[in-house]
């Protein structure tokens, strides 16, 4: 028995490859069921997101990898070997924990992956089992710890979230604030969604084509306004997002100055996410106007990412601790029943042989019989001590599940009840 993960991710495969390897939940469960039915794996979970497709499995036999590889190759329509990575046992666990914490994500520390890991595990629960259930459960705990105890998830890491972060740095919460969106395209819609999510109370959408503004406003419960009229409302607005397709700036110093007098000292945050820019650069020189263009937003996101990068070693330390805890658990689950049964078996043999020896020796005094009994027990303990310690250590270091299997085979413990964590007394702890 060994733990394995095989898959592709954004670090090893381009999007054209990744999109072909995407599994829908029902496909994942079906493929895992097939692998189990063939007796190749005992447990399996498929994690499939836009950035990765990974198959986590507890191997039944040692020839699982070629089957997993051919499964992915068939899906790709080509040999997947050039894109695929494989980790076993402890490395497989560390990999999953890192993935769940966002350390292997395209945007370092992004939180979405934690939910995706949880969803993948839940979707494949029918094909999973105690080893993987426990591993996925701890991966989510480790990811939460890494996020809470380090800065890997702190700060905005995308342009849209950086825009919201900047507005919040000026206004605190955005609840109850008024926002105006110039433009009605996809980017404007994304910005509008972000603002509404933050509790912006009045959102005005203005566009040269009023129908488009109206459609967008209706979809999100905002107010549509004619492009020519929107400047009159500017004095009431706290956040102005510009995302038109205009080839020249539409927000000019003159227009902003005209609204400034009525605003008093209230700050105005202008987020210019259009390319070419919608706002004259000199607008940023006006007193209480805070102007940010795409480069500024990218710089803010990059600064946050840089900060996240500095916290990666701390997150990895947390993950290492959790990996150790998991493998300690595996050691208990896999090795302890085998060691226990092994010792009981040896003790049965010792008792039988001792009885035979005592019979052959004839009448002995109680002290003599006790001395021989003590000798046999002591000899057995000495013989068994080192194998027991090594078996537990092998299971705990993440490379010894095979050793545990070997021990079960060598000492004919395979059919003894309680020595197989998959079939015996272990329970689904998740």
């Amino acid at each position: 028995m060994a733990l394995i993960v095989a898959g592709v991710s954004h670090t090893t495969a381009p999007i054209e490859v990744r999109e072909k390897l995407t599994f829908r939940p029902q496909d994942a469960v079906r493929e895992l069921a097939l692998l189990r039915a063939k007796g190749l794996i005992r447990e399996g979970v498929v994690l499939s997101t836009c950035n990765r497709t990974e198959i986590y499995a507890v191997e039944e036999s040692n020839d699982t990898l070629p089957d997993i590889s051919s499964l992915l190759s068939n899906r790709l329509g080509d040999d997947v070997a050039g894109f695929m990575y494989v980790h076993r046992d402890r490395e497989a666990t560390a990999h999953l924990f890192g993935v769940a914490a966002g350390l292997d994500s395209m945007i370092l520390g992004e939180a979405q992956i934690q939910g995706q890991v949880k969803a993948a595990w839940e979707q494949c629960r029918a094909e999973s089992g105690p080893i993987l259930n426990r591993m996925f459960q701890i991966s989510l705990l480790a990811a939460s710890r890494a996020r809470v105890e380090t800065g890997i998830g702190r700060g905005a890491a995308s342009v849209s979230s950086a825009a919201v972060q900047l507005a919040k740095k000026i206004f605190g919460g955005l609840g109850g604030r008024r926002a105006m969106i110039l433009g009605a395209g996809d980017v404007a819609e994304l910005a509008l969604e972000c603002l509404l999510k933050e509790g912006v109370s009045v959102a005005i959408v203005a566009n040269r084509t009023h129908e488009r503004a109206q459609n967008l406003a209706e979809r999100h419960g905002a107010t549509a306004m004619h492009y020519e009229e929107c400047w009159e409302s500017l004095h009431d607005v706290d956040v102005l997002i510009c995302s038109t397709a205009s080839p020249s700036p539409v927000v000019t110093v003159a227009r902003i100055r005209a609204s400034i007098a009525a605003r008093g000292d209230r700050p105005l945050c202008i987020l210019d996410i259009a390319l070419p820019r919608d706002v004259e650069a000199s607008v940023g020189d006006i007193g209480n106007v805070f102007l940010y263009d795409l480069d500024d937003l990218r710089a803010a996101a990059a600064a946050n990412l840089e900060q996240r990068g500095e916290d990666v070693p701390a997150a990895r330390e947390i993950i290492a601790v959790e990996v150790q805890k998991y493998w300690d658990w595996v050691a208990g689950l896999a090795a302890v029943p085998v060691v226990r049964e092994f010792r009981e078996e040896m003790d049965r043999l010792r008792s039988t042989e001792l009885a035979a020896a005592l019979k052959r020796l004839g009448p002995l005094s109680p002290e003599q019989a006790e001395a021989i009994e003590h000798f046999s027990r002591s000899l057995m303990n000495k013989f068994l001590h080192e194998p027991s310690v090594r078996l537990k250590a092998a299971a705990a270091n993440g490379r010894g599940l095979g050793v545990v299997d070997a021990a079960r085979y060598l000492f004919a413990l395979e059919n003894k009840p309680g020595t197989d964590p998959q079939k015996g007394d272990s329970t689904d702890i998740a």
């Binding site: 740095k169 000026i170 900060q307």
Partner: protein, 268 residues
């Protein structure tokens, strides 16, 4: 015992400022609980020092340059703890705690020699005036600290610099609100303190001109700030600038009067 307790208090104030500055060194969030506990320990030591002084003098001693400055430092830190505990935000400590430590050290260097205080009703009257005036000045200092931080944070935001100040300073709106509330508290404290001082001067014929001028100067400064906000709609940068400039002027005026009356003992 009094200098030792003061030293302990100053150490805790500076330690609190150092902990509040952690985000600039290690990119972690400042622990609110840790900063507040250090400030509270400092307050405990500071209060012990002033209680020792009171026991030594035989009456509550808030007059005289040394005791006055020490008490001002204590009130500033108390108002800081109140504001930061409510806001769960400790970046004000960066400015206010070193100011409190500096004021306390200056008080000790000037010598903890209280003036002889009157007894009975007159003592209560005088003590009330001093306490309210110090509360007013401490709140005014808090407003100025928030205003200064506003100006620094605003400059960073305007120039799109996303360093430690961007990450760890509170939002501009929060600093503006702290400035607003602290200036109102400063106005109320100084107004009541000055009203009591006027009554006291009239009743007991105790007029000290430099003190009256300085007290009026501080009151005019904080009143201008509050009236500017209420009547003229000042907020944000203008209010922040006003609070920082007027408070700096009040401090400068204090220094001028203090130097002018060095050998005459006629000033605080």
């Amino acid at each position: 015992m009094i200098p030792i307790a003061h030293f302990v208090a100053v150490t805790f104030y500076l330690a609190a400022a150092a902990v509040a500055a952690l985000p600039f060194a290690r990119r972690v969030k400042a622990p609110v609980g840790g900063v507040v506990i250090m400030l509270l320990l400092g307050i405990g030591a500071h209060a012990t020092a002033l209680a020792g002084l009171t026991r030594q003098a035989g009456a509550a001693s808030l007059t005289g340059l040394g005791p006055g400055l020490s008490f001002a430092g204590l009130v500033l830190v108390i108002s800081l703890v109140v504001v930061e505990s409510l806001a769960r935000e400790v970046s004000l400590t960066l400015v206010a705690a070193p100011v409190a430590a500096l004021v306390t050290v200056a008080g000790n260097l000037a010598g903890m020699h209280p003036f002889l205080e009157p007894q009975g009703v007159r003592a209560v009257w005088l003590t009330m005036h001093i306490v309210l005036s110090f509360i007013g000045i401490a709140a005014y200092a808090t407003a100025a600290a928030a205003g200064t931080m506003y100006l620094v944070a605003r400059r960073e935001l305007k120039s799109a610099r996303f360093g430690a100040i961007f990450r760890f300073f509170p939002p501009l709106d929060t600093l503006d609100r702290v400035n607003h509330l602290a200036s109102i508290a400063g106005f109320l404290g100084l107004t009541l303190g000055l009203a009591l001082a006027a009554g006291y001067s009239f009743e007991y014929r105790a007029l000290v001109l430099p003190q009256i001028i300085w007290g009026m100067g501080a009151w005019v400064g904080v009143s201008a700030l509050v009236l500017g906000r209420v009547l003229r709609g000042w907020q944000a940068r203008r209010a922040a600038l006003m609070s920082a400039v007027t408070f700096a002027s009040v401090v400068a005026l204090y220094v001028v009067f203090r130097m002018a009356s060095l050998n005459r003992g006629q000033f605080l």
